[in-house]
């Protein structure tokens, strides 16, 4: 009897004892490509010029989706009927005439979730490009739930207006796909390191300007100074932000656009400052006897990355910009000369260029200093990387030397895995410093 009871109790205990289970982590999934099929609508009722525009509309949508090759395979010349299609997503387009106005009836179907988008849109024939990008974005958003890059623009500098004697660098804006280039500034001067504000209405840039100073003996000296200006694209009003002696450049906006960070070399060695755009009050962020330049900031302003010469070579650092020299951390430990560190939108990784084998190539590193990878190789000299607002792409300049006197420099876009997607500019002078805007 006793034995029976004891065994019963033991069994009970075994049944309720904690079972140890070992879980093996498989790791992060790779992205699968989904097929999107576009079924074109009949637009024979439209007049010839409108019909041509609709053909163009389809081309633009296809070109838009060709950027996201990692996620999607886009099929536009679908001839099979909708029910036979095996693709995950189907875009259905139809054209209706509604009181002299042509409408696009847009439907997106998901094989798993069913109809995910159904909308009637008035076709804007006056700006078919913007209309097409808008449609692409609606489709992309219905599938991924996120904003695409299709309505973003890229700000850049070109030396196109230079004459034989004088170098000129002006700011231009274009759509993310390189179309619709617009000239922004007419300074007839050399503009460097521009950025576009988060609302895409203002531009912050530095200009090399003459500065006249009176010496104690009454002589007037002309020197050159790099001054930081804020420019309103719409009103064309320019405002001086910082013109202290020396360099005032490398300005960048915070997420709300009311504060900027920049490099100032007033006390002969360059340090990074924060400037309130309303009051122009300056706060010092770095303080070191070696130069600290090229700041960039993450979305919630909790982390700043910058370039510093403190280890003897130009290396990438991060710090907490809420204080002076607060939690400074060195991120890069290799490379002869690293330049232009830029965060991705969520601040988890930094892209930068580094001098290797007599040219620059682009590398990516985690904000914690881990996972350093190379992105470009055998592709000319690549500089000035900048993330797209969705963090999927990197825009950069690439230089090809043609002869001892001639070199071309154009803007390219690659995805964050280093797969070159497209050449964006061509035959537009030598272009510099591409900066991606938020969707407009």
């Amino acid at each position: 009897m006793k034995f029976l009871l004891c065994t019963f109790l033991m069994l009970l205990q075994i049944a309720y004892a904690q079972e140890t289970v070992t879980v093996v982590a498989v790791g992060e999934a790779e992205q699968d490509t989904d097929v999107i099929s576009l079924i074109k609508g009949d637009h024979s009722k439209l007049n010839a010029s409108q019909s041509k525009m609709i053909d163009n509309f389809y081309k633009i949508i296809e070109s838009d989706f060709s950027f996201y090759t990692q996620q999607f395979k886009f099929e536009s010349n679908v001839t099979t009927s909708e029910s036979d299609l095996k693709s995950r997503f189907i875009i259905l387009t139809k054209f209706n005439k509604n009181n002299d106005r042509f409408q696009l009836s847009l439907n997106v179907k998901d094989k798993v979730k069913g109809l995910i988008l159904s909308e009637d849109l008035d076709i804007d024939f006056t700006n078919i490009r913007a209309f097409s990008h808008n449609v692409s974005n609606k489709v992309y958003k219905s599938i991924t739930g996120k904003e695409s890059i299709f309505q973003t623009r890229i700000l850049f500098i070109s030396d196109k207006t230079s004459t034989r004697k004088t170098m000129r660098k002006e700011i231009y804006l274009m759509d993310f796909d390189g179309e619709n280039i617009e000239r922004v500034t007419h300074k007839n001067s050399i503009i460097i390191s521009p950025v576009i504000s988060p609302d895409s209405k203002k531009v912050l840039y530095s200009v090399i300007e003459d500065k006249w100073t009176k010496t104690s003996t009454g002589q007037i000296n002309k020197t050159q100074n790099i001054n930081l200006h804020l420019y309103d694209i719409e009103t064309k009003a320019e405002r001086m932000i910082s013109n202290l002696n020396g360099i005032n450049s490398g300005g960048i906006f915070n997420k709300t656009g009311d504060q900027i960070y920049l490099t100032i070399s007033n006390q002969d060695n360059a340090d990074i400052y924060k400037v309130d755009l309303k009051t122009l009050k300056k706060t010092k962020i770095t303080s070191h006897f070696s130069d600290d330049v090229d700041p960039h900031i993450n979305a919630d302003e909790s982390l700043m990355t910058f370039l510093s010469g403190r280890p003897g070579k130009a290396m990438i650092y991060t710090l907490d910009p809420t204080g002076l020299e607060k939690s400074v951390k060195r991120i890069s430990f290799v490379g002869d000369f690293n330049a232009a560190p830029r965060f991705n939108p969520d601040g988890t990784e930094i892209v930068f260029s580094s001098w290797v084998d007599n040219r620059f190539d682009i590398y990516r590193i985690g904000s914690d200093g881990r996972n350093l990878v190379r992105l470009t190789k055998n592709f000319g000299s690549n500089e000035e990387p900048w993330y797209s607002p969705d963090g999927q792409f990197i825009v950069f300049t690439s230089q090809r030397v043609i002869s001892s006197k001639k070199a071309v420099q154009d803007i390219y876009i690659m995805n964050r895995e280093g797969e070159i997607i497209k050449k964006i500019t061509g035959d537009f002078g030598k272009v510099y410093t591409p900066r991606w805007s938020n969707p407009i």
Binding site: T20, T22, L372
Partner: protein
């Protein structure tokens, strides 16, 4: 004697009381579970102590990486393709030497000549295989690459102390599984950044084939769970488990975490 008996009696009495008390408690919980619909018994996951195995990776950086992400992706593919044709090379060598034999027989059979030819042929063959390797991947380059710290070397994974040899063997077995499953672990764009996690229980037969797959811990998203199950199924068969770990492997003690 009497004293001993009374102690024994008291013991059995107390045991009976305890037994009845436990029985009533279990009955009460059972009835409660029936009324509330909340299971105290079958939901084993809540009582399970979970240990996670992740392979620790240590990278020493000596210089800027030489190869790009795209190139590294290609290397992974060529590496696996090199391994496959290796056994096929040997029979090829034999065939060629036999051909040589026939040719030589047609001419004059000279043993010395034949032997020297043999060795020559073999050397040539070796060179050829080297060249073949070079085509897909330059071994020298790979070695350099490792020296430069571009390739990630797997550090010693932190594993808790193991009680028996079988347990060690089991852990070694399951540690190899992520590398087999990962190539099939793919998610569509809209599920990739959702921070979802599910755990899949896998039952493996003695021949390594996956016989049953169960959701051990759901992510809450049916499609995500389905993709994880699909990844496991596509990865079947797993390596053949040794006899010592067969019981653990077939009884569903393998749990894979997607991603953790």
């Amino acid at each position: 004697m009497n004293y001993v008996e009374t102690v024994d009696d008291k013991f059995t009495q107390n045991i009976f009381k305890a037994l009845i008390g436990h029985f009533l408690l279990i009955l009460f919980l059972y009835l409660l579970s029936l009324i509330l619909g909340y299971s105290f018994f079958s939901d084993s996951n809540k009582n399970v102590k979970i240990e996670i195995i992740q392979s620790a990776v240590r990278v020493d950086l000596v210089a800027m990486p030489e190869l790009t992400v795209q190139e590294l992706k290609k290397i992974d593919l060529t590496e696996t393709t090199i391994k496959d044709p290796e056994p096929e090379v040997k029979p090829e060598v034999k065939n060629e030497t036999s051909e040589v034999e026939f040719k030589k027989v047609d001419k004059k059979v000279d043993l010395k000549n034949l032997l020297s030819n043999f060795s020559n042929k073999e050397i040539v063959k070796k060179d050829k295989s080297k060249k073949e390797n070079k085509k897909s991947i330059d071994n020298e380059k790979l070695r350099k690459l490792i020296l430069q710290g571009n390739i990630v070397s797997e550090g010693s994974s932190t594993v808790g102390t193991t009680a028996s040899l079988g347990a060690e063997e089991f852990i070694r077995y399951i540690q190899g599984l992520p590398d087999i499953v990962r190539p099939n672990w793919k998610l569509p764009s809209y599920l990739i950044d959702q921070n979802l996690r599910c755990r899949i229980k896998v039952f493996v037969a003695s021949n390594g084939r996956v016989i049953r797959v169960e959701v051990f811990e759901s992510s809450g998203d049916k499609e995500f769970d389905a993709k994880a199950i699909e990844a496991v199924k596509l990865s079947s068969p797993f390596p053949i488990p040794s006899k010592e770990i067969l019981v653990r492997v077939t009884s569903g003690q393998i749990i894979l975490g997607f991603p953790l």
